[in-house]
């Protein structure tokens, strides 16, 4: 009885998300039509593109990797009652710090240098995120404001470094001056698993970490306290849990995951730090987390889906020659509709209003739910 209820609930959530997606695409179709392209052709390339050949299939996963890593951090922070909007900044801080270490010790063997680079990137992201958490806990600074501002600082700092002190010596030698670092030592590159594609093992690292986060949040005392701090801060405080401490920790973890995402993107895809490395993953990761219903395991399919959508949108742009702005608008619409659909989960009484005369069974169930919630 209970199990089947839960099944019905998760099925209805999936249906809800699918509905949100569909509506976003319908509105997007109008935009495409206005831009002078055939929406059907456009969507065909968008949806079939990611499934066309091994490049499409793997590239979706390549894009899903940083999305999932950032998303895991966002899940952790949201569950702990603190919102991390600073994924972008934390990503580039992680990438630039890890790259600095790797470039400083180019001769070290991979067994030492790879873990070291990854750890440094996690720490750099954690410091950047943890700082926002500390500002919130000690000075009451709203974390949304502070993380967004820290994004700007991090992006500009990174740009300064890759234009100046850390610029690739060859760029100076040839006088081209493209803002990017030199390639990182070859021995720590993340191996590509399918020939002719950019698919690297970072994806599996991210999936494994999703399970680690799940166990951490639901099976350890620290995760328990973080969730208690997020979901009932007053009760947690009265029960002796230092809510502020765990929120700083949550922000540090969120930053750490984003920093790792940045480094994995460098080691697996670009092999160097370049401008625009974060590519909006820091924000899209939030959507992945929300789409995955703030559950680390749910974030896996969510990340893959958004990887496919991102790739499909790129392909659509090429197929029907519509402005890139339309593609970005469609992505924005997806985010808007998905986040908006959450209101139906949190306020089931909306259904009741809609289904009032049509479906007495749904009505009764929803009422019992909301009545139960109230007691």
């Amino acid at each position: 009885m209970k199990k089947s209820n839960r099944l019905v609930q998760s099925l209805s959530q999936v249906a809800l998300l699918a509905g949100a997606l569909l509506l976003a695409l319908l509105v997007g179709a109008i935009l495409i039509a206005i831009a002078g392209a055939n929406p059907l052709v456009a969507y065909k390339s968008m949806f079939l593109g990611p499934f066309s050949g091994k490049f499409g299939m793997t590239e979706s996963l390549v894009k899903a990797t940083p999305l999932l890593l950032v998303g895991l951090g966002v899940v952790t922070s949201f569950r702990s009652g603190i919102l991390n909007i600073g994924g972008e900044g934390q990503m580039v801080m992680g990438a630039i710090a890890g790259a600095a270490v790797a470039l400083a010790f180019p001769k070290w063997p991979a067994v030492i240098l790879l873990p070291l680079t990854l750890i440094v990137s996690v720490l750099a992201g954690a410091v950047w995120g943890g700082f926002a958490g500390w500002l919130k806990a000690k000075l009451g600074v709203n974390e949304i404001l502070s993380t967004v501002m820290l994004n700007s600082i991090a992006l500009q700092l990174c740009l300064y470094l890759i234009r100046g002190p850390m610029i690739d010596p060859e760029e100076i030698a040839y006088g081209t001056g493209t803002p990017q670092t030199a390639q990182l030592p070859r021995q720590i590159w993340m191996a590509r698993l399918v020939k002719g594609t950019r698919f690297h093992w970072g994806f599996f690292l991210a999936v494994a970490l999703a399970f680690v986060v799940f166990i951490f949040l639901w099976r350890t005392t620290i995760g328990y306290r973080m969730r208690a701090a997020g979901e009932g801060p007053d009760a947690a405080r009265a029960a002796g849990i230092n809510v502020e401490k765990y929120q700083i920790l949550a922000m540090a973890m969120a930053g750490g995951f984003a920093g790792l995402a940045g480094m994995v993107e460098v080691l697996g895809v670009h092999r160097r730090v370049l401008e625009g490395l974060s590519a909006g993953y820091g924000f899209s990761g939030i959507v992945v987390a929300l789409f995955g219903r703030l559950h680390p395991i749910g974030a896996i399919p969510a990340a893959i889906l958004f990887g496919m959508l991102t790739l499909g949108a790129d392909m659509m742009q090429r197929a029907v020659a519509i402005p890139a702005a339309i593609v970005m608008a469609i992505q924005g619409l997806v985010v808007l509709f998905v986040v908006g659909s959450d209101i139906f989960v949190r306020h089931p009484e909306i259904w009741r209003r809609w289904f009032r005369k049509k479906d007495p069974d749904t009505l009764g169930r929803l009422e019992a739910d909301s009545a139960g919630n109230r007691n």
Binding site: D234, R237, G240, A368
Partner: protein, 545 residues
């Protein structure tokens, strides 16, 4: 005037009183409202089973029943929040269809919910006109609205400043705003859902007067309650519900508390009483000359001193807002003190953390059990280990031990009779009484040296109230030192060994319960007796005992 708990509080001047009767002829539409054969089911629950009630203009009908008897469901049907499965509603003998609160409001039915629906940052006037069409089109006309609010306020003695932001108002004042909101929208039948549950005795007393005034002006009032003395004090007729069924409707003057109680629970109510002698243990918790600030600045505790001994219950009497909340928070480690000291079991615990207080043996039943007592989205099982999750057997290293936790949770559910579908059920789905049982289970099973119980029976039905009281006495018998903060003087007198009166942040008197009367304590609660004592004397009183 009216008496609650056997004490009459000083009443304010009531200039509106005579106008009420003079204006009772205004053109009201509702003569009577009938609900006939109302059936409302939720899956697995028959909330209302063919219930008939009726209410007439100018009368106060009390709707009496235990928690879960179906009172609120029935009223939500009347207010358009629920649609009944069958049955009909008649106004002046004509059937009406009410499918939303808007329909209800249009028909002249208003409801004051138990949890207020006000926007804290807006002023009283802004809250009242919220959602209404303005007479000046897109522009607000707050001035004339404020004027009407003032009119309504003075007519029904609902003293409230139309220009104050709601967050600055006390609970009692917020409730008045809710009543004004309903009246402003033309409510002629006012449904009040347990309106006194959140009020101090004084505020409750005032509210009852207001309700009487509204009824005298020709409006009808349905009062949802499970407090018998309220029913006797204010209502004209009583409808009693039990398990979703109508038991009977009787004239209040033909009833008495004992009869109503039997109708309500279907059996005689046991009265939990402390029976044995006062014990003379060592002091466990000692507060000495504690000063602490309130949230809004001025000190809430002004040199408060008290001590609680092993195996005794110290009842804290006082009108709420005199420092109860701050005192509880200081003891729980949640509020810093600016001077003075707190000692627990002889150790200095001044300004220590909640974790250290818990570690040192403090149990805490918070005033707001839903916000401070449980993590709502956590399961019953997760909530039961909130204070001990980091200790064996519940965890090993950093890993939680699922089996040990489940076993403990099942045991607690059994021993404390927590009514829950399973230990995985989200705690917010439990009823108030069962949430309180959960909190009791968690805090009592830790064998606390000192238990701080804040309004432990507030809002609970009779059975749950008796359970809580019995548990407190059990814990006392086991040697625990208990501080009982309560607004119900009867509860304090029935359970406590000693009673302390809290007034304006000080303990103004401590005495053996047997040596004082309800009236004396009531006077001290109202501030009488402070005129001849200065600040120093109140400490001497404590020291003397």
């Amino acid at each position: 005037m009216l008496k609650i708990h056997g004490i009459s509080f000083e009443q304010k001047q009531d200039p509106g009183r005579c106008r009420i009767t003079m204006e009772s002829q205004e053109g009201l539409r509702i003569k009577d409202v009938k609900m006939q054969g109302i059936v409302k089911t939720f899956p697995g629950v028959l909330a209302n089973d063919h219930v008939d009630i009726d209410v007439h203009a100018g009368e106060i009908l009390a709707l009496l029943g235990e928690n879960g008897a179906g009172k609120t469901t029935l009223m939500k049907v009347l207010y358009g929040l629920y649609r009944p499965d069958s049955g009909e509603i008649l106004i002046n003998d004509e059937p009406v269809s009410i499918s939303s609160p808007r329909d209800a409001i249009d028909l002249g039915i208003g409801m004051v919910h138990q949890h207020f629906m006000l926007v804290p940052s807006l002023t009283v006037t802004e809250n009242v006109v919220l959602g209404l069409r303005s007479s000046r089109g897109p522009l607000l006309d707050l001035e004339s609205a404020a004027k009407r609010i003032e009119e309504l306020a003075s007519r029904y003695s609902l003293a409230v400043d139309p220009y104050s932001p709601v967050w600055q108002l006390s609970i009692g004042e917020q409730q008045r705003v809710e009543i004004i909101k309903a009246l402003y929208r033309g409510a002629e039948l006012l449904i009040m859902d347990e309106p006194t549950a959140v009020l101090t005795p004084q505020e409750a007393d005032e509210l009852i007067r207001v309700m009487r005034g509204m009824a005298d002006s020709g409006r009808a009032i349905i009062l949802i309650t499970h407090k018998l003395h309220e029913v006797m004090a204010v209502s004209d007729r009583v409808t009693v519900l039990r398990n979703g069924r109508l038991v009977d409707t009787v004239l209040t003057k033909d009833a008495n508390e004992k009869l109503l109680a039997q109708m309500m629970v279907g059996r005689d109510i046991p009265q939990t009483l402390r029976t044995d002698e006062t014990s003379q243990g060592d002091p466990v918790l000692v507060l000495d000359d504690v000063w602490a600030d309130s949230d809004k600045g001025p000190p809430a505790l002004r040199g408060l001193s008290l001590e609680v001994r092993e195996g005794e219950i110290l009842g804290i009497a006082g009108v709420s807002g005199n420092g109860q909340r701050e005192m509880a928070e200081v003891i729980a480690g949640l509020r810093k003190i600016s001077s003075g000291s707190v000692r627990l079991k002889g150790e200095d615990m001044t300004n220590s953390t909640p974790a250290k207080m818990i570690q040192a043996g403090l149990g805490y039943i918070p005033e707001d059990r839903i916000v401070d007592g449980i993590v709502q989205s956590f399961s019953v099982e997760e909530n039961l280990i909130l204070k001990d999750h980091h200790k064996p057997p519940f965890s090993h290293g950093i890993f939680l031990q699922k089996d040990a936790i489940s076993e403990f949770a099942k045991e607690m559910v059994e021993i404390y009779d927590i009514r829950t579908p399973s230990i995985d059920t989200q705690a917010s789905h439990l009823s108030g009484g069962n949430i309180q049982r959960l909190i009791l289970a968690r805090d009592i099973s830790r064998n606390p040296a000192c238990l701080l119980a804040c309004y432990p029976s507030r809002g609970l039905d009779i059975a749950a109230t008796e359970y809580v009281r019995k548990k407190l006495l059990d814990v006392r018998a086991a040697g625990c030192a208990i501080i009982l903060i309560s607004e119900e003087l009867e509860e304090i007198f029935n359970l406590s060994d000693r009673v302390a009166v809290l007034y304006e942040g000080q303990i103004v008197k401590v005495a053996d319960v047997d040596d004082v009367t309800l009236d004396e304590i009531g006077l001290l609660m109202a501030g009488a007796g402070l005129t001849e004592t200065d600040d120093g004397n109140s400490r001497e009183l404590v020291d003397m005992i």
